[in-house]
């Protein structure tokens, strides 16, 4: 088969993927366009990037206290991601490497928590929080997300690929169990951590319901909360709103971009029956 023929054979495939990609990206393109236009033009549905970006930025910064919200969101998401990766990966490792019948049944029971609708546990959880003075705190934000069954599962499955011989050899060398985990397991599992990081960060960043419930002032509110306030006025400036939306989307996009190669790799073996 000649080169050209090969290219030609991929053409339909490329067209399909291109159309779908465009469909997926178009709304985002629209956000960018809207962020650079005046509110009225946004509502008219313009598709041409405008020149109002600086103006939108000025009004956004002068009307809203965006920096605390932004730093809070970054802080909550980063801490959540970090702590939850530590807690969940140790647990996933523990479930797999030291597995026995008891641990397997515990794991099955914990799996059930994935099915618990948040609306059901919201009020009891809130009561517990108030009792422990966790409202308006970073710990309050991260706690419900720290131990995620999905992550534990991810690490449990991926641990199967981690050679037992390495563990045995290290034990003979007198390495502690925790030492094995941190010095050998963590470095080899980088892709899994990347995958876990992407997913946890995205969830934490966009977490809205819980933040809305427990955060009650300007000093602790998150960026999605700020965006939600922007639509509550008698008049919403869409240029300004879309700029805020764009800003709120950037961190997740950056994280995904930075980690995407390892992300796919890390998911590999996440679920192998």
């Amino acid at each position: 088969m000649s080169r050209n023929k090969k290219l030609l054979r991929r053409l339909p495939k490329n067209i399909v993927l291109m159309v779908i990609s465009l469909f997926c990206v178009f709304p985002l393109f629209w956000v960018v366009v809207a962020a650079t236009n005046k509110s009225v033009d946004v509502l008219r549905g313009t598709l041409i990037p405008g020149t109002n970006l600086a103006e939108n930025w000025k009004t956004l910064v002068s009307t809203y206290n965006i920096w605390p919200a932004l730093t809070n969101s970054v802080k909550y998401s980063v801490v959540t991601t970090f702590v939850s990766l530590v807690v969940s990966s140790i647990a996933g490792y523990g479930f797999e490497v030291y597995h026995d019948r008891g641990k397997d049944s515990v794991f099955k029971v914990l799996m059930l928590t994935m099915m618990v609708p948040f609306t059901a546990t919201m009020i009891p959880l809130y009561q517990m929080y108030a009792g422990m003075h966790l409202l308006d705190t970073t710990v309050g934000f991260i706690l419900p997300e720290v131990s995620a069954v999905f992550l534990i599962m991810l690490f449990r499955q991926n641990s199967r690929a981690f050679p037992k011989e390495i563990i045995e050899a290290a034990r003979i060398d007198g390495e502690s169990e925790l030492g094995i985990f941190f010095k050998m397991y963590v470095p080899t599992m980088k892709p899994t951590y990347a995958a876990g990081m992407t997913i946890t960060f995205m969830n934490a960043w966009n977490n809205f319901m819980w933040a809305k419930l427990i955060m009650s002032n300007d000093a602790t509110q998150t960026f999605p909360m700020l965006i939600s306030n922007m639509t509550a006025g008698h008049y919403t400036d869409y240029g300004e709103l879309m700029l805020a939306v764009l800003i709120s989307t950037l961190p997740t996009v950056i994280v995904f971009f930075a980690l995407q190669k390892s992300f796919v790799q890390g998911m590999t073996g996440a679920v192998k029956g």
């Binding site: 009307t63 009561q127 308006d136 970073t138 306030n229 919403t236």
Partner: protein
Amino acid sequence: MKKRMTTLILSGILSLAMLAGCGNAQDGGSTSGQGSAGSSPQEAAGSADSQETAGTGASEGSETLTVWCWDPAYNINALKIAESIYQKDHPDFRLEIIETNGEEINTKMATATTSGVFDVLPDILLFDDSGFQSSVTSYPEVFADLTDYGFNYEEFSPGKVGFSTVDGRHYGIPFDSGTAIACYRKDILEQAGYTIADFTDITWNEWMEKAKVVLEKTGCPLLNGLSSYNQMTIMMQSAGGSFFDKDGNPNLVDNEILREVVEVYTEMVKEGVYTEETGWDTYIGGMNTGRIAGAMNGCWIMASLQAAEEQSGLWEITNLPKLDGIASATNYASQGGSSWAVTSQCSNPQLAVDFFKATFGGSMELYEQILETGAISTWIPAADSPKYEEPVAFFNNQPVFSLITTYSASVPECYVGVYFRNARSDVANAITNIIYSGGDIDSELQAAQDTLIFEMENK
């Protein structure tokens, strides 16, 4: 080895605790004892009274009040002006305003009540008038009874005060007017051969005929709205109608006002002269982009209209159409004003009331300053301000503020009811079924009433 592990886990817990410490920025020291769950409004009033005696002479304790409200350009702006006015005589007074939207306030109030944790609440909350009574009845522990603090309620229009009054007790401080107005695009009406006079003091039947002509000649629907919610409420109110009878029982089936409203509304949608929107953005967008030729809502809608600067001079306002064949029908209604509430958590309700009395209940200066954002007073003396007589360029130099003030006087009083929101959703659902699934009005209203009764029995 074991030791090292324990140390590690311990240090982990410790670092968590430290995080808790640094993030522990609870809102201002304004909170006091927790309201006990299950107390009645009377009990709440009692506790408020005792707090009053403890806290009189605002010199003791903090003079900072925390407020939850929304909209920086409107409510928050008004509050900040009021703060600076009050500070002239009370230099130590300070407001801590936390932007919280109405839905969030509702959620947090419900969470606080259900979990019995009240100390998260601020001193002052802003409420939409249509949900005020319902909130007081559902969450009696949240509200302080303000009846005996000497606020000058008699200087406000009775209809407005009624929104925040439950069983003859006052739980709110009236803020802005929700007097409903009809706004039309002068230029679009002209294309169809009409002027604003053709839409003044008319009935809905007349309106419908003219709206069809406008649609035919210009392609513009005359109105749009967020589903049927606001439109239906305005029309009901204009005839003094309610979803409930005097005893608070659902009254949807044998309600001639509601039936007329549903008939007019469904016709509006079917004829295409009213577009149902699903979001605030497309609702306002419809007017700002010139897709829709008019607007009918509380007078605060003027603020939204004026965002389209290039439409300046093209808008005019007038009163509402009135329902045909209804004895109590008028051309006036009210929609979506709001009132302040003082919570049971406020350690110094007297200070809060004094602040309101000196500002929202007594400052001409405040009302003159917030007029430009479109916030119109419900404090009757404010209407005497010369500012209210001034023509407004955006509205083709009509003296809109004094017009609205005259409309306010004619707004009929209505019974809102605790289950207002449930009733509104159920009727909206009935309307949807009538319009889109060909349901007939009798059976749909009957179904809505059954649903409402079901919701109210609560067992």
